[in-house]
Symmetry: none
DNA sequence: GATGAATGAGCTTTCATTCAT
DNA sequence: AATGAATGAAAGCTCATTCAT
């Protein structure tokens, strides 16, 4: 129906706007009036779409997690070697850091840092499950293929995502001497070196 | 001087209190009255020691960075192998996560996440230099000793700190199945595997 | 006309719904969306029937006053003794407290308490005249019949309605040890005892 | 101590101001900025004295109830006949309606009408106990002295307070033809007539 | 140095009302 | 008649910071 899709489109606009602002200025330093102004709608109307500022942030993390999860899902389903999959994931992640830095910044600076905002509604890792799941699948398939050492999942996960997140952070701080994407292969090698069987 | 040292002691108390609160509740959810109450002094008097809430956070990150840097300095100066040094650093970091989790949480959740708070006064990595420098020294000596591959420093740094930070985060979220310290050796091996010559 | 009567029916629905909500939650805690939802119509459409929230409340008090007035009118017209009429009025009032508590609660908690809402449009006692008039008639006929003392009308009115309202209030607060209707005869006696010639 | 008493005095000022405004405009139509302006202090400072608007209203009802209770206590302790005590209570009540109408209006229009405001903190009749208790004492002593019929307390209470409240209400609406105090003796007689043994 | 009352701007959220469809 | 998205003013409340004492 026309009406429904228009409302959905509006929701999408709000999410994208809020995502950009939260990523740039942080959750607390972004005000509802900020979001209203940038969306071009009134403060009151925002509340016709989301019941609270927190609910907006929670919707955004689900949105980000789903986007990340979808691409990694595709990589998982491909017929590549584990080593090559790592390379693809790293390149994808770093590509995103260049093209849609808001997604990564939101993840690192809003979701990971402001626990209290996600406490009710995103308990545990629910809101981030689509992404987590795919990383899990990647790792398990690598082990099953005999390419990766069968170690504790969280140790592998911490390496993988901590490493990528750390680089994204340094890139965001503009202290890397090179372009982030130029690190991709070296880093993929480091990860493979650490996890391989 | 007596007076000076008493004032310094008070400053130290405030820093420790604020550190604990910021780490626990976040920068924005911690109020100046919260800090005053927990320190046992008045709100007004706090401003005789620090000119603003931001200045307190900046002082804290310098304090944390110095503490971390000192221990890593000692490890750097020891006559251990690079592999063993990695193990020591990992154990020290994870030990801190258990014993003084505020330090790590502050670093991860306040310093890394709230850019705007540290924008004026902690530009670049100034406030975190004591720690960064020692990690740099560790890496350069490892390379010079022929133990580590001579790759871009930031790539190595991102691996090391991203990995440890990621594990600390997962531990803080209480989603690790094992005790953090039980991961130490496995993780030290992973790091060494990734960086070795 | 068909159209007219349908519109009237709708108005009636809205009045009953709003009456129930205002009585239950109070004038200010009841929102237009609340009323719209419970009526099953849209917010906008409500404004095709009533120009404002205040106008709705005013319409309701006229409606309530008319309903009360009609029954008292019947009692006035009957051939009963004054003492028996009092008994009937008290029973009728307490019966209403059980069967349609909204009417009484609206009167006590919305009309009597929120002066500002009825200021423009219900000045003085206009909106409540149908009810007041019948009480007046009852009293005058009681005096004319020689059953009641010829005292100031308002003094008698205050006794009668204050007493009944007070009991209705206590009943609404659920602090009466007995069922409200069990008090009816005792109270009718008290009133007669106070007013009789 | 100076400080303590000054703070208490301020609290008193706020209570008196808020009482006047609530009585005049109602709880919801009175805003915190209204109270701040009339008190001559800032909005923020009000919250150094009371944690919320509701808490202010609750404090006020305790204050009003205590004042009323004290005077009735004195009347109870006097050596007057029951009939004379009734006369005194009625006169005192009507006198208050003239001199401090806010007290009575607050009781009738704010406390009795806005249940939700007093729900948490004034459950049952706690906040109004000092007043209720004295009315209870009056009634019990009247029965013991053989002056009053031994009927259900609530029936007698409803008569007494409903009657007085009703007259106060009519007076507040300015529809009484005579001065309220001119009704006092007539009304005291009515009450005595209704309750006497 | 120490206190904590005082300030006031700013926050999130609500809601009666309007109006394009 | 009917819808419900949109408006915007205003509400209650918070809190970093100041300042008279």
């Amino acid at each position: 129906m026309k009406k429904e899709s228009r409302k959905e489109a509006r929701r999408g606009q709000i999410i994208e706007t809020a995502l950009a602002l939260f990523a740039q200025k942080g959750f607390y330093a972004t005000t509802i009036p900020d979001i209203a102004e940038k969306t071009g709608m009134s403060v009151g109307n925002l509340y016709n779409y989301f019941p609270s500022k927190e609910a907006m942030a929670q919707e955004i993390i689900r949105y980000v997690s789903t986007m990340l999860g979808e691409t990694i899902h595709e990589i998982n389903e491909s017929a590549l070697t584990t080593k090559e999959k790592i390379r693809r994931i790293v390149r994808f992640y770093f590509g995103l850091c260049e093209e849609r830095p808001e997604l990564i910044e939101f993840f690192l600076r809003v979701y990971l840092a402001n626990r209290e905002v996600f406490h009710d509604g995103c308990e545990g890792m629910i809101c981030v499950a689509p992404f987590m799941t795919e990383i899990m699948v990647f790792f398990e398939e690598g082990v099953r293929a005999g390419d990766l050492r069968n170690q504790d999942f969280f140790s592998a996960f911490g390496l993988f995502m901590g490493y990528l997140g750390g680089m994204a952070f340094l890139n965001g701080e503009r202290i890397l001497p090179k372009n982030l994407e130029d690190y991709a292969d070296e880093i993929a090698d480091n990860i493979y070196g650490a996890l391989k069987a």
